[in-house]
Chain length 158, copies 2
DNA sequence: CAATAATCGTTAAGGCCTTGACGACCAACC
DNA sequence: GGTTGGTCGTCAAGGCCTTAACGATTATTG
């Protein structure tokens, strides 16, 4: 526990009425997420010329070959308005294309260009290398346990 | 494992050369963080009239009573430029004050106003309630184990 | 001591996120 | 078959984040 966490715990304890164990877990999750995402963005995504948001969209579309903006939003957990903006950026960079649906003209179908696929694979190779380092000090068993717990927390949010 | 995760794993497996266990853990951490932070912002922070970034700054300053912007940035894991912007917003809302340091005129000292303190405590009460729900299905032992693992991952990032 | 170097906070530019409002479009009902 | 009500994607406003460049101020050093 570093000085900040320690001091925060003391302050909350003085104040009274707080659950300190839950504070610790939430605080650490919050902090780990911030640090991890920042690290990923500055050392993997930006060097490949895309943002973390752009990577998330590219990856999601790559997995399904073709998706509608609404589905990208649902799968990646952001609003459709956010996806709309990111798609504009990715389209400008030539990494994706948006096609019209001939049956329902409200719909768009998003797919990766060959360059988009290349960028995605190159970027995820790097990210996966970083992931290996990040979890390197955990045994296979510990890693599986962590995965199970994360999945369980995620389920309880829905 | 939901359909998206399953399909992503299959695609990566076809492609070859990826560590799938690390993918799963990273993918879930990424997703949990997005969902959890989004949930916190929309059901706790915004209803109290502040942003997640504002909450983070208020909390950090509250723990230390008084801090310089640079220290807030380091403790909360964002750039000093980001802190500068958030402080402007919080100051406009009357939740913090920035004082000059008389010895070194480059420095600012940030403190909470009485209203800032009230907002912070009210907001964290709500957040702590949500944290209790969020971790409710874990036993004390499991929660402690999770905390230990999060702390360990965080250490390996520094 | 003056000139140079380092440090602090802010601003600028480019992107992203949220909610709310909106046009375009489809479906369903009277 | 028109009107009425949903649905899809986009835009607008307000905030936040990053890096880079800047003024202001303090520290160092020849």
């Amino acid at each position: 526990m570093d000085r900040f966490e320690e001091r925060a715990t003391d302050r909350l304890d003085e104040e009274g009425g707080f659950e300190l164990d839950e504070f610790a877990a939430s605080f650490l999750l919050f902090r780990l997420a911030t640090q991890y995402l920042g690290h990923l963005e500055s050392s993997v995504h930006r060097p490949e010329g895309i943002s973390t948001a752009g990577f998330r969209v590219l990856f999601t579309v790559w997995v399904y070959d073709e998706l509608e903006p609404r589905q990208i939003a649902r799968l990646s957990g952001v609003s459709t308005a956010a996806v709309s903006g990111v798609l504009t950026t990715l389209e400008g960079a030539g990494l994706i294309i948006k096609e019209m649906d001939s049956n329902d003209r409200r719909l768009r179908r998003v797919r990766l260009t060959p360059e988009g696929t290349a960028v995605l694979l190159r970027t995820y190779r790097r990210q996966n290398d970083l992931e290996k380092d990040f979890f390197a000090h955990l045994s296979r068993t510990e890693l599986a346990g962590l995965t199970t717990q994360l999945r369980s927390l995620l389920d309880s949010l829905e």
